[in-house]
C-alpha cells in the first residue's frame, strides 16, 4: 500500500491549491480561454483590423464549399495516412534492428534519433535544398542511376511525395523511439520458451512480438497522426502549399486565410474543424484499440502452438527412435 498522502488540514489545503494554481492559470489563459475565443471568432466575420460582427455558422458553410479548403483537407488526410503508415513500418523495422545490435547501440540510437530533434523549419529548408533540381544532390543521384528526372517542386504529385519524404525523414525516429522502448520492455520469457520450442522467427514475430506491441504501436500511431494533422512548418518552407494548392494543408490554409488575407473568422472556423477532427480521430482510435486489444490479448498462441507449426521435423526424429 502506498504510504500516506496527508489528510488535509485546513492549512494544508491552501498549500495544495497553491501548488497547482500557477500552472492552472497558464492553462486557463492560454488554452481554455483561446479555445472559447477562437470558437467565438469562428462564428463571426472578424477581420484583422479588429472589426467583427456575429454571423453564426456562415463561415463554416462558406469554407466547406471552398475548393482550396477542401483540397487542403484532402491533402492533410492523405498525408497523415501516408506518413503515419510509412513511418510506422519503417520505425518498427528500425527498432527491431537496433534492438538486435549488440555493440555501438548508443551512438546508433543517437544517430537514428537525430532528425527528429531538429527544428522542423530547418528540416524543411534542408529538404528544399536537397530536392532542388539544379543544386540538390538527390536529382543528380537519380540521374547517375539512370532514373528520369523528377521535378520535385514544380509538379503536384512529386511535390507531395517530396513532403512525404521530408516528413518521413524527420519523424520516423519518433516511431522508432516509442516502438524501441516498447520492444525493450517486453518480457523475455515467452520469447525464450518460443525459441526453445523451435518456432520460426517469422511466427515469433507475428504471434508474439506484434500482438505484445499493440499498446506501444497504438500509442505511437495515435501520437504521430495527431501531430501530423497539424502539419505546417515543413510545407510552409518547402512549397508554401504549392504548386497551386497541391500540398496545402489545413493549418496552412488557415494561416493564409487568417493572417494574409485577413479573414480571421474563416480561419478560426478552419481550426475548429481541425480540432474536432483530431478529437474524433483520437476518441475512435482509442475505442478501437481498447476493443481490439481485448480480443487479441487472450488467444495468444502458446509457445507449444508456435512449435507445432514447425515441429514436424522434430516429431519425426522422435518417431524413428
Amino acid at each position: 500500500m502506498r504510504p500516506s498522502k496527508s489528510t488535509a488540514r485546513p492549512a494544508r489545503n491552501a498549500t495544495k491549491r497553491l501548488m497547482l494554481a500557477p500552472a492552472f492559470l497558464f492553462f486557463a489563459a492560454f488554452t481554455i480561454f483561446p479555445l472559447i475565443f477562437t470558437a467565438y471568432v469562428s462564428l463571426s466575420a472578424w477581420n484583422i483590423g479588429g472589426r467583427h460582427i456575429f454571423i453564426g455558422l456562415a463561415n463554416y458553410r462558406s469554407i466547406l464549399g471552398d475548393i482550396t479548403y477542401l483540397l487542403s483537407l484532402r491533402n492533410t488526410v492523405l498525408f497523415t495516412l501516408a506518413t503515419t503508415f510509412i513511418e510506422y513500418v519503417l520505425g518498427f523495422g528500425i527498432a527491431y534492428l537496433v534492438n538486435g545490435v549488440a555493440r555501438w547501440q548508443r551512438p546508433i540510437r543517437l544517430a537514428v534519433l537525430l532528425p527528429m530533434l531538429l527544428t522542423p523549419i530547418v528540416v524543411g529548408f534542408i529538404w528544399k535544398m536537397m530536392l532542388d533540381p539544379s543544386f540538390g544532390p538527390i536529382d543528380s543521384v537519380l540521374r547517375h542511376l539512370g532514373l528520369p528526372r523528377i521535378n520535385w517542386l514544380s509538379s503536384a504529385v512529386p511535390a507531395f511525395m517530396g513532403i512525404v519524404l521530408a516528413d518521413t525523414w524527420e519523424w520516423t525516429p519518433f516511431m522508432f523511439l516509442i516502438l524501441f522502448a516498447g520492444l525493450r520492455s517486453l518480457p523475455t520469457e515467452p520469447f525464450e520458451s518460443a525459441r526453445v520450442d523451435g518456432a520460426s522467427p517469422w511466427r515469433i514475430f507475428w504471434d508474439l512480438t506484434f500482438p505484445l506491441m499493440i499498446p506501444a504501436s497504438a500509442a505511437a500511431i495515435l501520437l504521430r497522426s495527431v501531430e501530423s494533422f497539424k502539419l505546417f512548418d515543413i510545407v510552409y518552407l518547402i512549397t508554401a502549399g504549392g504548386p497551386g494548392v497541391a500540398t496545402s494543408t489545413v493549418s496552412l490554409d488557415a494561416y493564409f486565410t487568417g493572417l494574409r488575407a485577413g479573414d480571421l473568422g474563416s480561419a478560426a472556423a478552419m481550426t475548429i474543424i481541425l480540432l474536432i477532427i483530431v478529437i474524433v480521430v483520437t476518441m475512435s482510435f482509442l475505442q478501437l484499440v481498447a476493443r481490439f486489444g481485448q480480443s487479441k490479448m487472450r488467444p495468444l498462441s502458446s509457445p507449444k502452438d508456435l512449435a507445432s507449426s514447425r515441429a514436424n521435423s522434430r516429431t519425426q526424429v522422435h518417431e524413428t527412435r
Partner: protein
C-alpha cells in the same frame, strides 16, 4: 525524555481502517515493543506519534502535552524508518548532522558542537570511519546504523523504531538486538519499537503491546504476555513453533476432569478443576506449547495417547516433531537428537499444569491457576 500516552487513536486511509482504537501508556525511559503482523497498524501508529500522519480521532500526549495539532517538525521525536529513508544526496555525515541544523535546533547545536555530537554518536555506533561515504555505498547493516545515528544525534523525547533490523541477515540481526538493548539502557530514552518478530520483542522490551488490525489486544511484560496470553491470537503469536490449539471437550472421568477430543485425552489438574467444573460437556480450546508436550517412544505406565510421527525437523539442540494422535495433529519440541523417524509410533502426554484453556467462540483465555507461572500478571 518523556512519557507517551495514546488514547483511542483512530486512523483511516480511504477504505482501510488502519487504526481502530489504539491506547497505551509508555512511561519515561521504558522500552516498549509494538508487536503484530504486517498490516496490524504498527507503522501507522509510529507515524502518528511522529506527526507525519494525522489521526482521525484520539489523543496523543508526549510528556503529558497534547501534540495532536503540532506538526512533526515541532514534536521532538525521532523515527528510524523500516527502509532507513536516508538522504541519498548527502554523505553519512550530512545525514547525521541534518537534524541538528534544523531551524528549531540550530541555536542549540552550534557548528562545532554539532560536529562533535555527530562524531560521538558515530563512534558509539561504530560508523565513525564511514562519515565521508555516500549512502548508496553502504551495506544494509551500515545503513541501518546511520539511520539510528541520525535519530540519536538530537535528544528526542520519544525514540521510534519501525522494524529497523528486519532487513538484515540473521546473524547481524542478533548482534544488533543486543546492541540496541545496550544503547537504550545507556541513553535511557523512551523507546517504542515495532516488530512482527515476537522473539525480538521479548528480548528487547520492558513492555509488549500486542496489536491486531488496529486494536490493542494485550499489554504486559514479556513473561506476562507469553505465559498469560489473553486469547488464542496472542498465544499463537508468541512462541515458535506455534502453540498447539486443540478443539476439545471437558468431560468427567471417574471424578476427575479431562479434556477430550478426537481420540486424545489430557488430564486436568485438580486445582483447575474447580473453575472448569461448570464447563463439563462444553466445548473448549486447549492450548499446549510444543515445549510442554512429552513424547515417549514406549508406552508409559498409566497409558497415554498414542500417535504416529508425521514429520521430524532436527534443529541441532532440539527437534520438532509433528505427531498425529487420534484426529489431532500435535507439534512437540523435544530436546536432543532423536532416533524417531516418520511413521514411528510414539506416546504423547502433557503435564496438567501446562494446559491453557480458551473459550471456543471468542478465544479468550479462561483464568485458571497455573502451577509454576510467575506472579507478574497481565495488566488487562
Amino acid at each position: 525524555m518523556a512519557s507517551l500516552q495514546l488514547t483511542g487513536v483512530k486512523k483511516r486511509y480511504e477504505s482501510v481502517l488502519a487504526l481502530a482504537d489504539v491506547s497505551f501508556d509508555l512511561a519515561d525511559g521504558q522500552f516498549m515493543a509494538l508487536l503484530g503482523p504486517s498490516g496490524a497498524g504498527k507503522t501507522t501508529t509510529l507515524k502518528s506519534i511522529a506527526g507525519v500522519e494525522t489521526p482521525d480521532g484520539g489523543e496523543i500526549r508526549i510528556g503529558g502535552r497534547l501534540v495532536n495539532d503540532i506538526p512533526a517538525e515541532g514534536r521532538n521525536t525521532a523515527l528510524v524508518f523500516e527502509n532507513y529513508a536516508l538522504y541519498p544526496n548527502m554523505t553519512v555525515y550530512g545525514n547525521m548532522v541534518f537534524p541538528l541544523k534544523a531551524p528549531a535546533r540550530a541555536e542549540k547545536f552550534r557548528a562545532e558542537s554539532a560536529t562533535q555530537r555527530v562524531f560521538e554518536v558515530a563512534r558509539t555506533l561504530g560508523i565513525a570511519s564511514l562519515l565521508e561515504r555516500r549512502t548508496w555505498e553502504l551495506s544494509g547493516g551500515q545503513r541501518q546504523r546511520v539511520a539510528l545515528g541520525r535519530a540519536l544525534v538530537r535528544e528526542p523525547d520519544v525514540f521510534l523504531m519501525d522494524e529497523p533490523i528486519s532487513h538484515l541477515d540473521a546473524k547481524l540481526r542478533f548482534e544488533m538486538r543486543a546492541e540496541l538493548k545496550r544503547l537504550q539502557r545507556d541513553i535511557g530514552v523512551t523507546t517504542l519499537y515495532a516488530t512482527p518478530d515476537y522473539a525480538e520483542a521479548m528480548a528487547l522490551a520492558d513492555v509488549i503491546v500486542v496489536l491486531r488490525e488496529g486494536r490493542v489486544i494485550q499489554v504486559g511484560t514479556p513473561t506476562a504476555v507469553f505465559n498469560r496470553p489473553i486469547d488464542t491470537y496472542v498465544a499463537h503469536l508468541l512462541g515458535e513453533p506455534h502453540i498447539n490449539l486443540l478443539e476439545m471437550e471437558i468431560q468427567s472421568r471417574s471424578g476427575r476432569l479431562a479434556a477430550v477430543g478426537q481420540g486424545v485425552e489430557f488430564a486436568i489438574h485438580p486445582s483447575q478443576a474447580e473453575l472448569l467444573r461448570q464447563r463439563v460437556t462444553k466445548l473448549i480450546t486447549v492450548g499446549v506449547r510444543p515445549s510442554e508436550v512429552l513424547v515417549s517412544p514406549t508406552e508409559p505406565d498409566g497409558g497415554g495417547d498414542s500417535g504416529t510421527v508425521i514429520a521430524v525437523e532436527p534443529r541441532g539442540a532440539t527437534t520438532v516433531l509433528v505427531v498425529r494422535a487420534g484426529g489431532q495433529q500435535v507439534v512437540a519440541k523435544v530436546g536432543g537428537e532423536q532416533r524417531l523417524r516418520p511413521d514411528s509410533i510414539v506416546w504423547i502426554g502433557v503435564k496438567p499444569e501446562s494446559l491453557y484453556f480458551f473459550e471456543r467462540e471468542s478465544g479468550a483465555r479462561v483464568e485458571v491457576p497455573h502451577g509454576e507461572i510467575d506472579a507478574a500478571g497481565a495488566s488487562r
